[in-house]
């Protein structure tokens, strides 16, 4: 892969790695013996880890110019594998913390293994590690195909992919050492945040530069969503993470916001992370891989437009529904609730557009687990957006807030929608990327599908029950006007559901492991086949011969 970089790109890469090593060295020196210093060493190690293979091929000759006539898919390939590995890691920690909730005595006596430190590793691991890598990998693929343009250069996609993974590793290791801003989904501290801004700007520029060179007159819907995802996440990330570090040699920082302003900024961020990271980005995926796999045209272009602008406009207002009945002024709560309700319409329009696209291809949904993953994802997208709008209603929220219902809702979206569309897309994409007709095993896709679906259903039903019981117990009063149940009564009532949830999560994790095995085996088999046939099996799996054009 490195030999495919141009000599100039290799030189630039080395320069970046040297600069990073010095930055890491400065961090290590400034934060001697602290987590900040350890992260400095991590940066050095990452730079060397990438630098060594780079140096080994550093003096390789310039690559064959013919490669610039083809799309650049190396970062996508690596991103797919990284996404699957993060899925296993993140979901494993998820099952771990679920087990801790059911059997708290199972913990080991180590600070890093405490529930409070493991939980963000799970959330960041699955959202940013798994989801983020899948988004980066698929966006590079979709961007090139729907623009009929090669990525503008070969270095910046690698910078984005590897830089992003460095961010994820710094985040997860930081949590273990107690490095956190204590803001949900925005836990990483200031130096990791600054790094992500740099990575993200480069990501955005790749998109802009490629779209600017596109050979299609129109920008396809999937790219609207990927663009919205990249642009809005940048804005959210920068604003919510405005903070003043204690010193440039220490990990600790203090937020620029305080009190209810901090809470509102955080949930404006938090809900739009759901909207633009976990929804818009994955709608981009849906809009490419579902019609492609089904071999059907999108049901309605006009519906796509209404949905896109509805979703992007309305979500921005919805964050305050996380702060109903708090010190947040009521008018802000009103706006959050009402926009959340209107938001249901474009959300369902998107889900409906996806499902109606399958008209004429339902026999494929029946036979093809890959397409079924995508279909079920669209259904769960509809379910969880309905639930979200419902829970945003103040009266409903007074029951659901702070309970497991919220956790169930998040997982209906994260497992049922985000993970399912990702697995479906990856199963469609992997054979294309590695030039094979099919995945290694269709049967294992089927196994994965049923594990994932069963796991999601068990999980979500357990948390619905648990959450509603919990909410009702907390608000039940005796005839004397005192609380009928103590908090621990509600814990006892939740226990069986916590066991069920851990089981559901375990099923989902097993599915991810099966999926990863299938992906890795596909890669292996593809390589073996290419070796046997002398590299001649360039299977044109696309609808037609790809019309490729030269890069810059």
């Amino acid at each position: 892969m490195i030999a495919r970089l141009t000599v100039a790109e290799r030189q630039s890469a080395l320069l970046i790695l040297i600069v990073m090593s010095f930055l890491g060295l400065a961090m290590a020196a400034a934060g001697r013996g602290t987590p900040f210093g350890l992260h400095g060493f991590l940066v050095i190690a990452a730079s060397i880890g990438v630098g060594l293979p780079l140096l080994r091929k550093f003096y390789a000759p310039e690559p064959d110019p013919a490669q610039f006539e083809q799309y650049y898919d190396d970062p996508t390939k690596v991103g797919i594998v990284l996404a699957m590995l993060w899925a296993i890691a993140g979901m494993f920690v998820g099952v771990w913390v679920a087990a801790l909730l059911a059997w708290p005595d199972l913990t080991i006596d180590a600070a890093w293994a405490s529930f409070g430190r493991l939980r963000p590793i799970h959330t960041s691991g699955v959202i940013f590690g798994f989801g983020g890598n899948a988004l980066i990998a698929t966006s590079f693929h979709v961007l090139q195909r729907t623009s009929r343009a090669r990525l503008p250069d070969q270095l910046s996609p690698w910078f984005v992919l590897l830089g992003y993974n460095l961010f994820c590793v710094v985040a997860a290791t930081g949590y273990m050492m107690g490095v956190t801003q204590s803001k949900e989904y925005a836990e990483p501290e200031w130096y990791a945040d600054i790094w992500l801004v740099i990575v993200w700007v480069v990501y955005f520029l790749i998109y802009i530069r490629t779209l600017a060179r596109r050979k299609e007159p129109h920008i396809y819907v999937a790219n609207w969503y990927y663009m919205a995802f990249i642009l809005v996440v940048a804005i959210l990330h920068i604003v919510n993470n405005l903070a003043v570090p204690v010193s440039f040699g220490d990990f600790k920082s203090y937020s620029a916001f305080s009190g209810v302003q901090d809470a509102m900024t955080q949930w404006w961020y938090g809900h739009n992370a759901v909207a633009f990271f976990l929804t818009a980005g994955f709608l981009g995926m849906l809009y490419y891989y579902l019609p492609k796999r089904a071999g059907r045209p999108i049901f309605s272009y006009r519906l796509s437009i209404i949905s896109f602008w509805g979703i992007t406009f309305m979500y921005m207002w919805a964050g305050s529904h996380h702060l109903h009945y708090t010190a947040l002024p009521q008018w802000v709560q009103t706006l959050g609730m009402t926009f959340s309700i209107v938001l249901l319409v474009p959300s369902w329009a998107s889900a409906g557009n996806a499902l109606a696209t399958l008209n004429g291809a339902w026999h494929k949904v029946r036979d093809d687990a890959t397409l079924r993953f995508m279909m079920v994802a669209a259904v769960f997208y509809g379910i969880s957006t309905f639930e979200g709008s419902f829970m945003a209603i103040r009266a409903v929220n007074s029951l659901s807030h702070y309970t497991d219902w919220t956790v169930g809702h998040v997982h209906a979206g994260a497992l049922g929608w985000v993970a399912m569309i990702t697995f479906g897309s990856i199963y469609a994409l992997v054979p294309w990327m590695w030039k094979r007709e099919t995945m290694y095993s269709a049967r294992l896709i089927e196994v994965h599908f049923w594990l994932a679906l069963a796991g999601t259903v068990v999980y979500v039903f357990a948390m619905w029950n648990s959450g509603i019981i919990q909410g009702l117990m907390w608000r039940t009063y005796t005839d004397s006007g005192t609380l009928a149940y103590s908090f621990i009564d509600s814990l006892v009532a939740m226990h069986p559901y916590y066991i069920a949830r851990a089981f559901g999560g375990l099923l989902f994790l097993l599915g991810a492991i099966v999926g990863t095995y299938n992906v890795l085996m596909t890669i292996r088999v593809a390589k073996r086949e290419r070796a046997q046939s002398g590299g001649g099996t360039d299977v044109p799996s696309y609808g037609r011969d790809p019309v490729l054009q030269a890069g810059e």
Binding site: R145, T146, R148, E216, P217, H218, Y220, V221, Y288, P291, K292, R296, P297, I298, F299, S300, Y301, R302, L303, S304, I306, G310, Y325, P329, Q330, W331, Q333, T334, L335, M337, T338, F339, I341, V342, L344, V345, P346, W348, A349, G352, N359, G360, T478, S480, G481, T482, L483, A484, Y485, S486, F487, I488, D489, Y542, G543, R544, P546
Partner: protein, 292 residues
């Protein structure tokens, strides 16, 4: 817009664009979508008119219903207080003996006391108040600072070795660490103390140690635990003759208690719980009986 070919399955035409094989149909937006978009938007507008909704320069639109969440919660709290007043006021004004003589009030104390206890006390003393290592069993009737409701209420209010300025203070000397007693003396007094409540007392081999320990006890321990070893509740010194141990009754644990001393802590709840809540808790705890 230049339209493309007709899709044979739906009968719709495409928009004429194609991206790597993907096409889009020119299907109009379904009426149902427009209908619900209108309905939800109208609902939102209606809600904005009725409720506090839009920010103005230095205020916000109050809504024609005049709803204010702060007023609502203040009213609901007042209403709840009103609802409880008939019996809460009695608890507040009556003395403990009078409350205990009133079965209706005691029934309410049992109900409210359980949730108060489990939400505030159970973390240390256990859901059944049976305690644990370092945390006294409250159902055992083996009191450190007195078991009448007013004594219990006072303990809850000011705590033990707490940060409250009136706190109850109690500390057992570290007889071994501070060099008051040597290891043999401690072993002997441990044998004696353990014999007081049973285990090991039948073993004739231990008799000499127990006898020696009795002398050590008389010289060092009686000032707090009393001549009869039944403890002194004005000093928070436990009764050593009953079968209840705060830190455990094993040889090692009692040795550690004598060697290193003990100083338990209980937070003060006077600033966190209301006077009525503390009264309810005192009555509830007083009425606890050992779980069989």
């Amino acid at each position: 817009m230049e339209l493309g070919k007709r899709d044979p399955i739906t009968g719709r035409v495409t928009t004429g664009h194609e991206w790597n094989g993907i096409e889009e149909l020119d299907t109009p937006v379904p009426r149902v979508v427009l209908f619900f978009l209108t309905v939800t938007t109208l609902f939102a507008i209606g809600y904005w008119i009725a409720m506090p909704a839009w920010p103005l320069w230095s205020t916000y639109t109050k809504g024609i219903l005049g709803v204010d969440q702060r007023e609502i919660v203040a009213r609901q709290v007042a209403e709840a207080r009103q609802e409880r007043a008939p019996w809460v006021d009695k608890i507040a004004s009556m003395d403990f003996a009078a409350i205990q003589a009133d079965p209706d009030l005691m029934g309410r104390v049992q109900l409210a006391g359980r949730t108060l206890f489990e939400d505030n006390c159970a973390a240390c003393h256990g859901v059944k108040a049976s305690g644990g290592p370092g945390f006294p069993n409250l159902s055992a009737k083996s009191w450190l600072w007195g078991g009448t409701p007013d004594k219990i209420a006072e303990t809850i209010r000011i705590g033990i070795n707490s940060t409250n300025e009136d706190t109850r203070i109690s500390q057992m000397t570290a007889f071994g660490r501070d060099g008051v007693l040597d290891a043999t003396q401690i072993s002997n007094v441990v044998a004696y103390v353990r014999a007081l409540s049973g285990p090991g007392s039948d073993d004739p081999a231990e008799a000499p140690a127990i006898a020696a320990g009795k002398e050590v006890f008389a010289a060092n321990c009686v000032s707090c635990h009393g001549e009869d070893a039944k403890g002194k509740q004005d000093m928070g010194a436990p009764d050593l003759t009953d079968k209840y141990w705060i830190y455990g009754g094993s040889l090692d644990t009692v040795f550690t208690s004598v060697y290193s001393g003990r100083q338990g802590h209980m937070p003060h709840w006077g600033t966190r719980l209301s006077d009525v809540d503390i009264k309810i808790l005192a009555l509830y705890v007083e009425a606890l009986r050992p779980q069989q």
